[in-house]
Amino acid sequence: MTATAEPEVGRARHRKEDARLITGATRWTDNMQLTGMLHMALLRSPVAHARITSIDVTEAVKMPGVLMALTGQDVAAEQGSLPCVWPITEDMLAPPAPSLAVDRVNFAGEAVALVVARSAAEAHDALSAIDVDYEDLPVVLDMERAIEDGADLVHPDLGSNKSATWVFDSAEAGTGSDVDAAIADAEVLVERTFRQQRLIPAFMEPRSVVVDPSPDSVTMWSSTQVPHILRWMLSATLGIPEQRIRVIAPDVGGGFGGKLQVTPEEVLTMLVARRIGKPVKWTETRTESMLSGHHGRDQVQRLTIAARRDGTVTGLKVDLLADMGAYLRLIAPGVPILGAFVFNGIYKFPAYRFTCTNVFTDKTPTDAYRGAGRPEATFGIERMMDELAAELGVDPLDLRRRNWIRHEEFPFDTVTGLTYDSGDYEAATDRATELFGYDALRREQAERRANGDTVQLGIGISTYTEMCGWAPSRVLGALRYAAGGWETAAIRMLPTGKVELVTGTSPHGQGHETAWSQIVADRLGVPFEDVEVLHGDTRISHRGLDSYGSRSVAVGGVAVALAADKVLAKAHTVAAHLMEVGEDDVEFTAGTFSVRGTSTTMTLGDVVTAANAAHNLPDGMEPGLDADATFDPSSLSFPHGTHLCATEVDTQTGEVKIRSYVCVDDVGKVVNPVIVEGQVHGGLAQGIAQALYEEAVHDESGTLTTATFADYLLPSAVDLPHFTTDRTETPALTNPLGVKGVGEAGTIASTPAVVNAIVDAVRHMGVSDVQMPCTPMRVWKAIHHRGDGVPTTPGAGGGLGSVNVDDQAYPRGGAE
């Protein structure tokens, strides 16, 4: 066994995962073909709210290749209710959530019937032979109207569209003073209402499920972020003993929270495969994904900030409405609540109150989407800081400096009751302004304003702290979350000295195979190449809580290190025993045990061999060096950073161009800087896309008019700028690796940076807000004070699936 020359942790390793991904040897769920495999297709409701008065599948069953057609009535006794594990209050209203609608549909896209056929094409063909009659019910779409007295109800049985109201008050919690008093005494008050538009996670790999049943055990392959949670919940929902369910998440093509779910389709595929006794596959179309996969964001934020004339903030009041959609999905109720703890951002607010009401509407259910609650909160506070700066007539960067926690003030107990362990906002900001050329851009901005240029320049600032490393189990318990937040790792020391690492995290693009190998190699002194990382199969990795919420490295990565330390501790004892010296005389460096002051050495490989042979071990010691560890962090971790965006706004057309984007993030210690930078880039892309491009739009009947990639606009390479990224490094003090997490940082910080930049460019023209996404029309209307009404009708011409194309409208004269 050779020692690694340079430390593995911190090294810019190229990824192990790439070999299969760049050659097309990847194992996507939809690649699976099993003997006799059947295909399921789902019929989805075209209406948003209706009673199903009749549904007839008799013709569908007669179609070629069809084996089975089922309605909600047919599975009503078996399907259970889709799980929601986060009842945020004791009195939270939660409707039953059937996988297949039984007598009512509550959003357009909800599944109402299924067909199982020999081919996917035949299954889809048969859907058109199913006859459904709907009796329309009033459609509830607008959250503010939904909570008015006498409003039409999504779920009449519940008696209200308000699912729950959750409050945090710093005066009550003893973490700060009373916000009403702060507001009453304020020298300056700024009140704003912001809208977080509805987004669609839009992972590139459509979801796919394959179920192979047998009487003894059933195996599900699913394109999921959460194989462990999925197994547990399938068992709970369908009453199948958990030990008889095996869930495998093979290669998964992105998730961004969108695959942190237990889906109707997973339940139904399981159900029909067991009923027929043959393997069944369901793979969604992109439009199905847009209609029925959960959406994200969708909040109305009413914010009040109180301050003194000198710019010192004195209070923050947050009133949110959060759209749950038609049902409560897995962790949906808690998503907006996550924002409660970071709405104060990096600032020293003495008084704070956060109130959030979760509201039902007849729309696709929402749930986690990259950042989950924290982008919304960061957007709110960072937009408000800019508004306050404008109100006070000070530079927004200076206002932030005046109010943020100084580096010497850490650890810092915040008004939300958290303790920020470490950070250096000054360092990150100084580096960012330097890379950005802040002062020069401010000068150019002043010149352009003075000249009345058609194209105006704006500078957007966003600082943030993320709350990740999700999460200390006790914290989760206090928040009424049904599960823990620990993570586990197991190391198998093979007889040849090679290593298998089993992790409970479930990567879907993050590069855990590479990063975890680096941690193991570093700890054990084995070559990076000798470590094989196993994950995503509940029969191999039987325990874990999967990947979401920037938790993988800060919890799972630490578990890996702890497991390695256990291996090493035992190896140390064995080595001392074999070299016949006291343990204190043995030291370990770079994969080798040596006896101090002598030339006697043993490599870890030799120790492994000896431990496996077990011919000569200390009395009572179990053979082998395998070890596992479970890490439950004592605290969350708090990465932070400063993002600066310069936009050019064409005041004639409203078009926004990002001229430069600089971010300096502090994510603590870094295992692999290349992977970290990649995570930041991708996060920036999604955050910028929220600011400029993406929006899930429903028309007044509740139809999603952005159900294709022709209508839901994802940016291409042309539409995004070059990013300038850098890092500062303040190690986390709450875990032995000093890591904080990086998965969501870019997304969280970038959205407000872009919108602040747009508003900054045209504030002198009387603009104090532009609703997201800041489309050219919205920007133009804001500049020219034409109101903010935007039609919900899909694109005129062009958009595939946006125009109601029928045979008449499509002449047979030809197509492009």
Partner: protein
């Protein structure tokens, strides 16, 4: 209908329904699952393959239209265990995360380099406008394509001789100021 098609250098003869998309034929009949389907509207480009030496979205081509033609997929790029320079550049530049868009992205990058062997950043971005990636923010993809261009440029070493698919070579470059 009966079709014969050459895929990654192998000849295949098959009976297909006219409605079968080329991508489904590749995946389900030939097991070429390296090529994937990401959308219904030919926006995402994940299914990009080369048809007679030009990049196409295999979800917008019928299998019957490939009759008598030559298809190259991501699985046909590596030769004798050696990665194509564009594949290698994607690895070296961390130009992929989940990897779902990667096969299409690589196939389009090769096509773009055939038209423009030394593209600047802007030209790379435009050349990839038909391929969506949700993970990388594209910056490393752009870097990878430019890196690959240098690896493949004349005099760049043995790899330069390995520009695949003779049909791709010798295309007339775009007119000056071209692209979009």
């Amino acid at each position: 209908m009966r079709i014969t098609v050459t895929v990654d250098g192998m000849d295949y003869g098959d009976e297909v329904e006219p409605r079968t998309l080329l991508v489904h034929y590749l995946r389900e009949r030939l097991g070429k699952t390296g090529t994937v389907v990401g959308c219904d509207t030919s926006n995402c480009g994940a299914c990009t393959v080369h048809l007679d030496g030009h990049s196409v979205k295999s979800c917008a081509v019928l299998a019957v239209q490939a009759n008598g033609r030559e298809v190259t997929t991501i699985e046909g790029l590596a030769r004798d265990g050696q990665l194509h320079p564009v594949q290698e550049a994607f690895h070296q530049n961390h130009a992929l995360q989940c990897g779902f868009c990667t096969p299409g992205m690589i196939m389009q990058a090769i096509d773009l380099l055939a038209d423009n062997p030394d593209p600047d950043e802007d030209q790379v971005r435009h050349g990839l406008e038909g391929n969506l990636c949700r993970c990388t923010g594209y910056q490393n993809i752009v870097n990878a394509v430019r890196d690959a261009a240098h690896r493949m440029s004349p005099g760049a070493g043995p790899d330069a001789e390995r520009v695949d698919e003779t049909k791709l070579v010798g295309r007339t470059p775009m007119h000056a100021g071209g692209g979009e």
